[in-house]
């Protein structure tokens, strides 16, 4: 069995963004040290070697001073990919240098857009030049693997503005782009009170297709529904999710697929800090089953093996040919298939033999 990944959820933000439903608290600085101690306490139970580590959030750069001691508890392999998410509003060059020194070797920057009006719409605390500066500083601090998150379907976003954002990103030392669609989550301010100029499915589909096209032109290969990378810069940690491999999650709201079980830590920071060991709840009673392998595998451009796709053949007959490719013993979705992935996967799984 290959080595597992380690995910550490950092539930702190300077301010909550109105569209985000990840578990995170704002203005809770006094809890940082307690949180870091609890993470270390939990990590002490595991001495296995991890080959990817991912600090997600929240805003992980807020706990930069504790990262070195947290990582000192992790038995990661020498070639491990160690990523941290990073917010341009709260990370300067000092922070970036400290992160690099603590062992982080990959950054995922929450750029979202390089248009100031769009950033305002999203309620972000940074502007486009903050984001550009951060990426340049990161390169100076020694990061040679940098990813930028951008968002599709921002109110006011147009084909022109998206093209501009992507082209400017490609001029920066960025090797990886994640493009997410703005999604209304019921429990968020956006979900309760959607922006009037929210992109509809047609507009979203157009923006997505444009993003695929420009990324391809700029040399970023789409390797997953939302992810584009220069060759060799795919996110190894996230690949574990899609390849249905195991990972351990530490921190409130963190999810795990560990020793054959899927479980999550309750969304309770204080409880996490107080407990000698984090509590977990089973989330799935059929982890790693056939449907899951198909669902996850088809998100990737590499697709799924012949062994996995054989039962899907009856459903494939119902699909127009431009949405998938069957070659070299693998089934994969085409660029046209990705934006209707849910439809295709549920159709295929509904017609298995």
């Amino acid at each position: 069995m290959s080595k597992r990944g380690l995910y550490i959820h950092v539930p702190f933000c300077v301010r909550k963004c109105p569209y985000c439903d990840f578990y995170s608290l704002s203005g809770a600085e006094e809890l940082y040290s307690g949180y870091a101690a609890a993470v270390r306490r939990n990590l002490a139970y595991y001495d296995e070697p991890f080959d990817t580590v991912y600090f997600g959030g929240g805003t992980p750069n807020l706990i930069t001073p504790y990262m070195a001691e947290i990582l000192s508890e992790v038995n990661f392999s020498p070639d491990a990919e160690i990523t941290s998410e990073c917010n341009p509003a709260s990370a300067g060059s000092d922070t970036l240098q400290a992160m690099r020194r603590s062992g982080i070797n990959r950054l995922s920057v929450g750029v979202q857009s390089l248009q100031d009006n769009e950033l305002q719409k999203l309620g972000r605390l940074h502007n486009s030049s903050d984001a550009e500066k951060l990426i340049l500083s990161a390169e100076k601090a020694g990061f040679d693997s940098i990813s930028a998150d951008i968002m599709l379907g921002i109110p006011g976003q147009t084909a022109t503005s998206l093209t501009d954002t992507l082209k400017r990103l490609s001029l920066l030392p960025v090797q990886h782009i994640s493009a997410y669609m703005l999604t209304l989550e019921p429990a968020t301010p956006y979900g309760k009170n959607p922006p009037v100029d929210m992109a509809d499915d047609e507009q979203m589909a157009d923006l997505y297709a444009l993003c695929q096209e420009i990324c391809r032109e700029l040399g970023f290969i789409q390797y997953e529904i939302s992810n584009f990378a220069q060759k060799g810069f795919e996110c190894r940690h996230n690949l574990k999710y899609w390849r249905d491999e195991e990972y351990l999650g530490i921190g409130p709201a963190a999810h795990s697929f560990y020793q054959g079980k899927r479980f999550a830590v309750p969304k309770d920071l204080r409880g996490f800090i107080a407990a000698p060991r984090q509590t977990t709840e089973i989330t799935d009673d059929s982890p790693g089953d056939y449907d899951e392998q198909v669902m996850m595998g088809l998100r990737l451009a590499e697709g799924i093996s012949e062994e996995l796709y054989m039962p899907l053949l009856p459903g494939l007959k119902l699909l127009p040919p431009e949405y998938y490719l069957l070659e070299n013993g693998r089934l994969r979705l085409t660029a046209a298939g990705f934006p209707v992935y849910n439809y295709i996967v549920s159709l295929l799984l509904a017609h298995t033999n």
Binding site: Y180, Y247, D284, P339, H351
Partner: protein
Amino acid sequence: MADTSYLDKIRNFCIIAHIDHGKSTLADRILEQTQTVALRDMEEQLLDNMDIERERGITIKARAVRLKYHADDGEDYIFNLIDTPGHVDFNYEVSRSLVACEGAILIVDASQGIEAQTLANTYLAVENDLEVVPVINKIDLPSAHPEQVKEEIENVIGIPAEGAPEISAKMGINIHAVMECIVHSIPAPKGDTEAPLQALIFDSYYDSYKGVITYVRIKEGSVKPGDRIRMMATGAEFTVVETGFMGATELVPCSGLKAGEVGYIAASIKSIGETKVGDTVTSADKPASEPLAGYREVNPMVFSGIYPADGAKYVDLREALEKLQLNDASLSFEPETSVALGFGFRCGFLGLLHMEIIQERIEREYNLDIITTAPSVVYKIELTDGTVKMIDNPTNYPDPSEIAQAYEPMVNAHVYAPSEYVGNIMELCQNRRGVFRDMKYIDEARVDLHYELPLNEIVYDFFDALKSRTRGYASYDYEMMGFVPSKLVKLDILLNGDIIDALSFIVHADKAYERARKMAEKLKEHIPRQLFEIPIQAAVGGKIIARETIKALRKDVLAKCYGGDITRKKKLLEKQKEGKKRMRAFGTVEVPQEAFMAVLKLDDE
């Protein structure tokens, strides 16, 4: 002559009423009063033991139960109570129950007065020579006017109602008066225990251990375990394994059943065909010379195809239909095939509610996913070669060039409603090609509107439309009056250029355009977007008369950051997958089952 004094202490009766006037609630109260059910086991609508009945708050199946009542005269009486359905679709169940009884308690709602089913059910009871005992229910309601309702009963139905108990079954008021009424007003049964056995089967169901259990009313003679019995209609013979009566929650075996009693017989009957509701059970050794008068055969009014969503479940579907038919003789079915849906069954129902209930029971009690095609009534077609065909499936509708004359079934319908809604009702009946006959005032405020209506205009959604136009105050009842010449056409629906036979429809020529347009709109609404554009067309004889287009799906993906929470994504996709399983592929077009039902309900004003 044997001692028949036990008969004096038996009362066989049913409860009849319009839907929602409180039959099942009164049955509950009677059960409590006689302490047939321990209070701790008591629950609402105790006799309605199907989930669907409880959820919808209606009675579908008649239920029999035996009770013991200690009357004011100091004597103990055996009550055999049969709770009956109130909806027009289930009149048939009511008439079966009546044959087992000497009397009927007629419940009338003190605030609503006489409704369509009050009359229909009373007439059924009177036809069967039952003593009808009126009871005024819901006197606790502020809008109750019991005196006026009593007058209505006397004037409209023509039975004395002055002494009718005024009760509230819900609040338990005056139930005792009902009990005493049963003792004094309902005649004791008659019969001779020495005569050859004649037992009328009024219901049956299948028990996986005991085989078919038949519910019988013993008219003459007696029967006990070990006896050889014969079904007079089928000639099949069996040895009785068990006799007994119906407790409130379970069957209670007894040593034998005698003339005048109501109970059950189990005789290891395995085959459905051998017991027929309405048949007479007699002794094989000493048979009766003639069977009892059975029931009027019910004719199904509405037909539709039922298909398993998963073709491999065809045999399971057949078994489910066979079992349902065992205790619902009004359900008929025979195999049919559809180009679009494969192998299934053409089923006949009493009405649309009946159809919905059967559909739901197949899905719930037998755990089968099914697809139901557009329902049709029976049409009579005279062909140019002089032969006559009865058509209950649009697929079999002959080519127009071969049709000399088409006929459609008509009904006599009575609508009861407050007079302020007369305008709305007339407009509705007019729209449904109704022919006005007359209008009578039941009292100052309420009318009885009499229309002749084509059956195909009322079976689908007439009652819903009527209720929405009268704020729920109207009730209606109808009876078949025969076939009349009509101008009919077959309407075909094409999805992506292919005719979907399961959606074909027979419709009056004047209504073809409107229905075609509405069908196309409804289908557009209910068929989700797919990976390509889907034209929906409606055609009569090859000519397209309506068209809609479902645009291609462009985005259906969760492209979002999610930090390893795969479970949530998986649940979403599993849900979508289940949705897709409920779809049926026509060529490459996926149609959800709901679309088939939705096209029936076209009347949305």
